[in-house]
Amino acid sequence: MSADAATHEGHEGLYEGGIWSWLTTVDHKRIGILYFVTGLIFLLIAGLEGQLIRTQLAQSELRILDPDFYNQLFTMHGTTMVFFAGMPLITAFFNYVVPLQIGARDVAFPRLNAFSYWVLLFAGIFLYSSFAFGGAPDGGWFAYQPLTNPEYSPGLGMDFYILALLLAGVGSIAGGVNFLVTIVNMRAPGMTFMRMPLFTWMTLIVAILILLCFPPFTIGLVFMLFDRSFGTHFFDAAAGADPVLWQHLFWVFGHPAVYILLLPAFGVVSDVIPAFSKKGLFGYPVIVFSGILIAFLGFGVWVHHMFSVGLGPIVNAVFGGATMLIAIPTGIKIFNWIATLWGGQLKFTPAMLFAIGLVGTFTIGGLSGVMHASPPSDLQQTDTYFVVAHFHYVLIGGTVFGLFSGLYYWFPKATGKMMSDSLGAWHFWLTFIALNVTFFPMHFSGLLGMPRRTFTYAEGLGLDTFNLISTVGAFIFTVSFIPLVWNLLKSLRSGPDAGPNPWDAHTLEWTMSSPPPHYNFAVLPQVNRRDPMWHPHVEPGAEPPAGVTLGVEPRLQPEVPPEPVIMPGPSFWPLFLAVGLLIATIGGLGSLPVALVGAAISLVGLFGWAFEPVEGEH
């Protein structure tokens, strides 16, 4: 019937057309999918590195991996997880969901959007090529000076790290601009800020975070690049500089970065919980403002990563206190979610399981965070496995759970197919068990004297049992990915049809067919409230959504647009420019000619981009 027809037409809009159409696409939905696949693959690769790490640490004094290789592994594991798995996966959801949620037909700068994706992909591939060219970076994901000076890290490893992250940074900042402008300028009529879905809200906040916290990091990387390549002295104690400067530059970025990874997950949960409680969000404004508060405070706490540097009691006291404050807005979110669940009709779909799982497990990581926030107690915890436990609880129990929740929630929208609930449940329980089995023991091994970033540990420490448990857990993790991957493939091929709104969810993305047509909205909706899908009645005063016939499904979009829709045409300049930058980056490894060629290509790309007519398409 009608829904099917819509779905079918949507298919043509979305998936027909060969490789070329993907290379030149500027459709936020396709770019979102590209981001997702890329992020997932990097998650698996980095996860594999995690497995290797755990294998080496299964027992004391093992010599399975060579120390230098081990050091490369945890550096790449951390760097990949944060920059090439975490960030792309959240960006995938920004791309796919935000325009649909605010009632827009695309993002503000579609070509810039494509560009962001390509540079990110190239940066990731570039980083991994280092394994082939004389060794991956091995300075740890925060690359502390002076260990990362050429004097102590000869070889190209750290140059790969610097250049790859510079490239990725360009993409992130472009993305930040794009989503900020999109959300501020392209909301559908009536979509006031206080009617925006929570996920969109968190995206807005994160876009601002990205814009403010990436530049200092970029500069830090440039300094390091110059120190390595041109013999400057930004971090050279002998020349009067202070290596601690790097720690400041990194963490001024690094701490907000962890909230960049977290807030979108919170956004997902804040949309999923109401959908499966059949009950509007409890304390919407409070949740919004606590999000803003977390982001704001997040800029004033970076020194909590440096409590053992010896910056003096005053500094430590101030930053310790500031860090603790963040517990308050975070707690507010937790309690409001519970209050939303309270009195609802809770339906435990995989999306809901992961959302509730997040509320439960993130809290554990948050609480160990508060233990770190107290500088004296952190003097015993910093650089031990206690910290490793903390940040995996928040990163997996927070970010990853949130992302999986979002995956199960929006997959039907993106593909028109339902996923299997039972496989999803298996995936959740396995992940949940794996998380706790792997990382809970690390609290103990940490406090009992297990330092992090060590390729082995003495038998005399008596830590074999804990480490063995952790390793077992890590392997459960690997198993946990089987139901996921299977579920994805199976559902893509033979999942039952989803229809526009399989969950009876409340926000705008559920008004059109699944997958949505190329133009998203046949008619731009008129928004009268936060949960348009749940309230057919139109509030007094506001006129009914244009072109929408009131009736059985008054809130659904019409099948075909009443009048033709102008959409931006495909363009290969973004890809072209990204290639140019990649070549320039490769040149950055030490070949001026290559760098110049790259720069030249980029220039051509820029001009081509600037002069390309943005011709329309129906």
Binding site: G280, V309, L325, Q381, F440, L448
Partner: protein, 334 residues
């Protein structure tokens, strides 16, 4: 479904706690043996119990809610509740108060542990971090040693830490917290050991290939034992009688060893590697990674790059006999 979570969590906690209680943990932060470590531990315990409280409450309410309100056709569509000001204020204030309760002892402790010691007759020990071993000096006693320190019980030790190359961090969990060694800065940490014994220390800031193998030992002696130790270690090397050891001395002095190591009272005056003047009296080899026994020592001399990959000591080509002699000599240096 969801009670499985609870069970697993509980089971884990029990299993793991049980694990934590048995056994000997020479590098544990939970078994303090000094005033400094004691302070950190007390503070941690306070925060920990607050956290447990929060954990129980939050997870309790969460689980109850999830069971109580799971889907049930009897109940109709839930009615909308958009918020509740008093509740919001409540769950803002309560955490705030808990945090105050955590912050006050925290700040008190900060101003004790982050300030230099005020004890006038503290014993100064200078710790210099090098890739990947520790040089220790006692300025007042004119002692230089490596990878282990002896200290008298009950006397304040004022540790001055600095780095010769990259970042390192001085950490003896049972005696105190971490203090980073930063090129171009001098840092301090102090503690007074409560009881004699051997405590493990470890470099706690990633510093390259052999970071994992950059440990050391702190031996807390009775004052008498300490003075005895100090008396010996302030002086030069003992004169060697044993024939094999003498042969070893010859080997040592006719090889590259002398260019890196110092043995006071001999021609060996190298500055690059650890001082070996009283090596025989030390507990460990290679920065706390091997017990200082004859065969371990042979192994170390013979294939140091396997014992400690990446370390800067070259594998000098020697016959097994020479290795044995060297080992005998070094162990004789008590």
């Amino acid at each position: 479904i969801l009670n499985r979570r609870l069970l697993i969590a509980a089971a884990l906690v029990i299993a793991v706690v049980a694990g934590a209680c048995g056994g000997e943990y020479p590098q544990s932060a939970l078994h303090p043996e000094s005033d400094f470590a004691e302070r950190l531990d007390v503070l941690f315990a306070q925060i920990f119990w607050w956290a447990v409280g929060v954990f129980v409450v939050v997870e309790g309410i969460l689980l109850y809610t999830v069971f109580r309100w799971r889907e049930n056709p009897e109940r109709g569509r839930p009615k909308e509740v958009h918020g509740h000001t008093m509740m919001e204020i409540g769950w803002t204030l309560v955490p705030a108060l808990i945090l105050v309760a955590i912050a006050i002892p925290t700040i008190r402790t900060i101003f004790i542990v982050d300030n230099p010691t005020t004890d006038p007759d503290a014993l100064t020990v200078e710790a210099v971090g090098r890739q990947w071993w520790w040089e220790f000096n006692y300025p007042e006693l004119g002692i230089q040693t490596a990878n282990e320190i002896h200290i008298p019980v009950g006397r304040t030790i004022d540790v001055r830490v600095r780095s010769a190359d990259v970042l390192h961090s001085f950490w003896v969990p049972r005696l105190g917290g971490k203090r980073d060694l930063v090129p171009g800065r001098e840092n301090q940490i102090w503690f007074t050991a409560d009881s004699t014994g051997v405590y493990w220390g470890q470099c706690a800031e990633y510093c390259g290939t052999a970071h994992a193998l950059m440990s050391f030992r702190v031996i807390v002696d009775t004052p008498e034992d300490f003075d005895a130790w100090a008396a010996v270690n302030a002086g030069g090397a003992v004169t060697i009688q044993d024939a094999e050891a003498r042969a070893g001395k010859a080997v040592f002095e006719s090889n590259a060893c002398v260019s890196c190591h110092t043995i006071r009272g001999t021609i060996a005056q190298g500055q690059f590697g650890p001082d070996l003047t009283h090596f025989g009296s030390r507990l460990t080899i290679g920065a706390g990674i091997l017990d200082n026994t004859l065969e371990n020592l042979r192994y170390w001399i013979d294939s140091t790059q396997h014992a400690k990959p990446g370390n800067f000591m070259p594998e000098v080509q020697l016959t097994d006999a020479q290795v044995a002699q060297l080992a005998a000599y070094l162990l004789a240096l008590r």
